[in-house]
Subunit: 286 residues, 6 copies
Amino acid sequence: MISDLERAQVLSEALPYLRRYHGRTMVIKYGGAAMVDEPLKRAVMQDVVLLHLVGIRPVLVHGGGPEISETMKKLGKEPTFVNGLRVTDAETIEIVEMVLAGKTNKGIVSLIEQYGGKAVGLSGKDGSLFVARRMKSGDTDLGFVGEVVAVNTAVLRPLAEHGFIPVIASVAVGEEGETLNINADHVAGQLAAALRAEKLILLTDVPGLLEDVARPETLLSEVDAQQARELLASGRVERGMIPKVEACLTALQGGVPRAHILDGRRPHVLLSELFTDRGAGTMLYP
Amino acid sequence: MISDLERAQVLSEALPYLRRYHGRTMVIKYGGAAMVDEPLKRAVMQDVVLLHLVGIRPVLVHGGGPEISETMKKLGKEPTFVNGLRVTDAETIEIVEMVLAGKTNKGIVSLIEQYGGKAVGLSGKDGSLFVARRMKSGDTDLGFVGEVVAVNTAVLRPLAEHGFIPVIASVAVGEEGETLNINADHVAGQLAAALRAEKLILLTDVPGLLEDVARPETLLSEVDAQQARELLASGRVERGMIPKVEACLTALQGGVPRAHILDGRRPHVLLSELFTDRGAGTMLYP
Amino acid sequence: MISDLERAQVLSEALPYLRRYHGRTMVIKYGGAAMVDEPLKRAVMQDVVLLHLVGIRPVLVHGGGPEISETMKKLGKEPTFVNGLRVTDAETIEIVEMVLAGKTNKGIVSLIEQYGGKAVGLSGKDGSLFVARRMKSGDTDLGFVGEVVAVNTAVLRPLAEHGFIPVIASVAVGEEGETLNINADHVAGQLAAALRAEKLILLTDVPGLLEDVARPETLLSEVDAQQARELLASGRVERGMIPKVEACLTALQGGVPRAHILDGRRPHVLLSELFTDRGAGTMLYP
Amino acid sequence: MISDLERAQVLSEALPYLRRYHGRTMVIKYGGAAMVDEPLKRAVMQDVVLLHLVGIRPVLVHGGGPEISETMKKLGKEPTFVNGLRVTDAETIEIVEMVLAGKTNKGIVSLIEQYGGKAVGLSGKDGSLFVARRMKSGDTDLGFVGEVVAVNTAVLRPLAEHGFIPVIASVAVGEEGETLNINADHVAGQLAAALRAEKLILLTDVPGLLEDVARPETLLSEVDAQQARELLASGRVERGMIPKVEACLTALQGGVPRAHILDGRRPHVLLSELFTDRGAGTMLYP
Amino acid sequence: MISDLERAQVLSEALPYLRRYHGRTMVIKYGGAAMVDEPLKRAVMQDVVLLHLVGIRPVLVHGGGPEISETMKKLGKEPTFVNGLRVTDAETIEIVEMVLAGKTNKGIVSLIEQYGGKAVGLSGKDGSLFVARRMKSGDTDLGFVGEVVAVNTAVLRPLAEHGFIPVIASVAVGEEGETLNINADHVAGQLAAALRAEKLILLTDVPGLLEDVARPETLLSEVDAQQARELLASGRVERGMIPKVEACLTALQGGVPRAHILDGRRPHVLLSELFTDRGAGTMLYP
Amino acid sequence: MISDLERAQVLSEALPYLRRYHGRTMVIKYGGAAMVDEPLKRAVMQDVVLLHLVGIRPVLVHGGGPEISETMKKLGKEPTFVNGLRVTDAETIEIVEMVLAGKTNKGIVSLIEQYGGKAVGLSGKDGSLFVARRMKSGDTDLGFVGEVVAVNTAVLRPLAEHGFIPVIASVAVGEEGETLNINADHVAGQLAAALRAEKLILLTDVPGLLEDVARPETLLSEVDAQQARELLASGRVERGMIPKVEACLTALQGGVPRAHILDGRRPHVLLSELFTDRGAGTMLYP
């Protein structure tokens, strides 16, 4: 049982962190278990509202992998992947957009509003926030899959200035107005760079970047950009972690001072990372 | 063939209308054929961008009936209606929201952006724009169906001031954060009142309000609120038109000077109504 | 007879032009027949109000040749010209200023206000908008005739921001506070450059720049700056057109992307030029 | 010879007046000898610039009687008056406007600019500042003579906020856009009321309001509104003074705390009145 | 030892309080032990900086009893009190002002700046923040002692808007410009009312308001205004607590919803009160 | 006796100076006789209020030498000086701060408010306005004496924009939050440079800079920076004048166009210098 005095003490120890992060933008890629497990989900949204109230400007980016596949199956379509990328035909992209922008996104908005925050759900098509061009994977035509070539943040400023937390679904608009499926990690990194954010934070289902993927005790708590690039080149990074490390590197290169890969399975991991001494997961720096 | 001189003449004759509507807000309920037929759809969105450029502030509200039923069927659910209201169980409301906020809404946004406008797609959950409570139809529990009890326009102002056209899907947030299905006509009327709009414009698939539904030549081109109420009471208004007439009355009562029921099947009917002498469809006034 | 549908069509086709010119400043030199013929005059002012309402920022500059000579004659003074420049003694400059700033200028203001615009009439002396130094024509002392050496646009910004259309009489203030007669075409070109306008538009009494002045069918619809300079050097430009071409070149050199010489005798020629595909008169580009 | 110490002393004694008048608007009707005599004219304009620099917001209103008649005669028209009001036919109103707005007005602007102020010359037609309706004098049709029925100060605010001194010629716009001749004293009183000015100041050619018009030593240095009304009713006020007293009463009724009739023949009478203990001329108070 | 998880949990539980107090002004009367004991002092200032960072607007008011008496003694003057009020002759008020505004005040400012806040020290004379008139205690002339009759908050707004925390020494300006000694508790109550603060918080050296002053266990944790007035009337309130209860009543009457008497000897009592469930000391409500 | 006409004349002659100094910042170091002699003190404060009212932005900096020594003696401490610098132990710096920030400063604020100005008293600790590091004099440890290494003017802007005159006591904050005694002349020079002031004005007890200190008739009315540096190097500048000349040089080097050493014993010397032709004392220019 924590006493009142201890509680006050804990709050008081947040002072240097509050000072450091005041008025700064943080791009948070929301995904993994924290997006599926109801109590974790609620804890993340509470934390986001808290960050906003103490003067930080959180911007949420989310994908929605499992929900998409689930809806596809219900509609009788079998999800197919090539090199980890979803093959996205016309029907599929429609489902992707419906699920991401119509279900996952609005669900997050709703939770934030319930905890007293003001949220606005957007997709990358609103205000042409994410403009992408189609990409291939080698010779395979992946269909409506794209990589972001321009980030137009104009729609975010008026919302932020009026106290709204932007929640952004990771779809983009193509050159002919078509919807394109994009990687949520990558675009979070690009957005952090475009906003000159203070931090990019990626919520995942692993403790962080591991020296040896088989042994959790080999967690790398700090890695510089050079090391991260070498790790990628070495092939020792697990497939699921590759886009996350790439996103961090994109952010660092774009002038973001710190990028974090955090274990979203730990409750209130955002608060632990931002307001206590020990931090959590892996921090990447330039 | 229209000559250059005639063209200039036509433009020039728009002057008094431009003057009258400058800086005014118009809530446009978008629905019916204009939402299904591709060329009509494009024409409406062009017109909306044009209205915005000439100094009018359009706000779009849309439902999405046919697309919802279609997706439900694909997912193996049979749409059921009681007194014209969709019975909406938990699975159905999820589909409704996905389709409206994730597909229809973002499609409209995309078209407006293609024609050079800047659009932001919202649902009634963003910024708690539409707060609703559950409603029953007599003794029948309709499930996740609601009627709007509060309209919070705070999220619209910063967007409008920065030149974004709001496109709003007709779902609302309930008192416990749940999504509720609402009538798009009704909420357009309430929104027009909340924004003290200059006009409420409902795009439909009929020529307007008819004295005798069987005879199109009995179009009522102008009706005052009293007459409209009497028509409703008389039971002579076609079922589909009832919510539209009700929405117009809500708007008029809320201080909106004019409400219009227009035939969305006529190309550029918005421009005809707003910028030429003859008008179109039925105009309701207080 | 143009149908409603055709009318809506014509309006709709203005969209790309509205988009292109939105928020842009256009300096319009008003003169010639359009200034004398009552219906033409009214049509121009209607068009100016319309441009303003659709989001363009028109700035009018005018001279007033015929009215000045007429008033001089009434006062018993015989107008004298040297190389097309009015010899301007102390009495004459007083008449020039009275007529331009007191009669022509306020007449234009009045018309714009009648058509629902808000206008403010200025001369180059207000806020020291046009500062000039005296000029000679060869050895001849022309008296109170000057060429503009500084354009102070400070007075225009607050008016424009509050929705007023500036109407400017082409007189300037000299270095000792005296009034100086200046060329309205030239100063329109300088003002367009100072305001970084989108266009300079000169209303004249000819169809445009002609290859062969005797043959209207030799109209040059587009001319680049280099060609325009060569035409001037060739001596083939009619005397009255020389200052107009010079003004266009000044504007182009000052960063204005397009300058136009239009036939002010055609009703609504401003709208034809700006909002239809075919344009009108001669367009000069860098 | 005044010593430096005495000079500093004099300046220092202005402190309480500077404090009282800071940020306040003063409407100054400029007329009479101060408008004809060159040194007096320059002294008034210097004072106006000084008032502006020390934080007062001067607004000048002027007529131009002698210059109008002079120009009329040059043009071969004989001025006619009925009950002190100029009979104003179509030709005459054109001359009135030319002289007031084109000559007198721009001359004042020019002087203020020379002394380092920033001035903008307006007539009552600019921004529909003065809207008048035609008036008759008994049964006599005076032609284009009007009385002001609306004062639209919208054009003055942006100019004042950007540091421009408005100089306003006393002509108005009629209901059909025509120019109307108005009384400069009257409109100065109405403008002072519309602007909720701190003072209305009328510069005249007499020492002030006299108990006995034949004896200057009967100057009334202070008169309340009731006394002023009685004086008017008594018929003892000189004809030329009647509109001035009426203007003062209009201002007082409109909430202006003080109105002054000053002797414009005394150099720097504005500074004497505003910044020294003894004041000058006649002060009217509610 | 508190774990990271527990820490995050504690922070997370502050959410509802952060939400409630966001953007609200809190007037904090700083005094007693918290002003003398170095670690307590530092803890209070840390908390004030933290409040500011999380979006609350703290305004500090302080007296400085012990330091004044100490300095007086050093200067060979013996402090005298009548009914608990300091008899304040000309020499004494000089010492009071020097100590409060020159020593205590700037010491607090310095601490806040050290903890990363931005502070500006003021006295009630700056911007005539506190205007007082002299008061007597029965027949005794207390000298330069006053009660505040006007609170001019104009100086606080620009400082608050630019992120400065105001720190205010409790001296006032008298009607002739003289300095007056005022009661810090009283003026804190008046300031809270003038600012329409969310809370008035008085830091004292007792646990709160006690039913029986001899028994700390009779702490009244909540008291309404009526009860507080009865307690005062009953004579059961300890002398030192009287002005505190009066200040709370002044604040409540002025529209402040809550006033608190807290034990400043408990470290971080501000945080305990504001951000935990149990609160601390006595809360007064209307 | 000065006549009204002469008074108006004197005021009128201030015009060119008002124009030149409008909106400009002037840093005034207030000290010497003008700080001790009651009528002189009042005259200076009147002048400061007047400067503010006519559109100049005065910023006052003051020390308080005699009052500090006097209070030290009352407290039984003997002032000690090394090379003209006060040896400042812990007790002394406390007295210095109390006297400067608590007595002298608030006394000046009070006078300005009495004359109708709005003043805010600050010390160099407020908003960390003056940050200093400790300095030695040769080998002697002077204790809490510092030289300013950073000037943070952020706290001054919001005050100035809301019409408050800043009055600043010359103490600074050291690197560990301690108070440091600084030279008021020096810091006035640094502040003038940091604010890019139009003038630095030092009020002293001598007529100005003298060629031969024994002979007042050798007053140097204008000196350029080079000459001033040579004078300093020559050793012919009186000790008390050295920091003043240094402060002037600091200001000039920092871009301040003019620095003045004025005789504060002359009443209204500020007005004489600023608003009359002859000026006063010594002017230094780059």
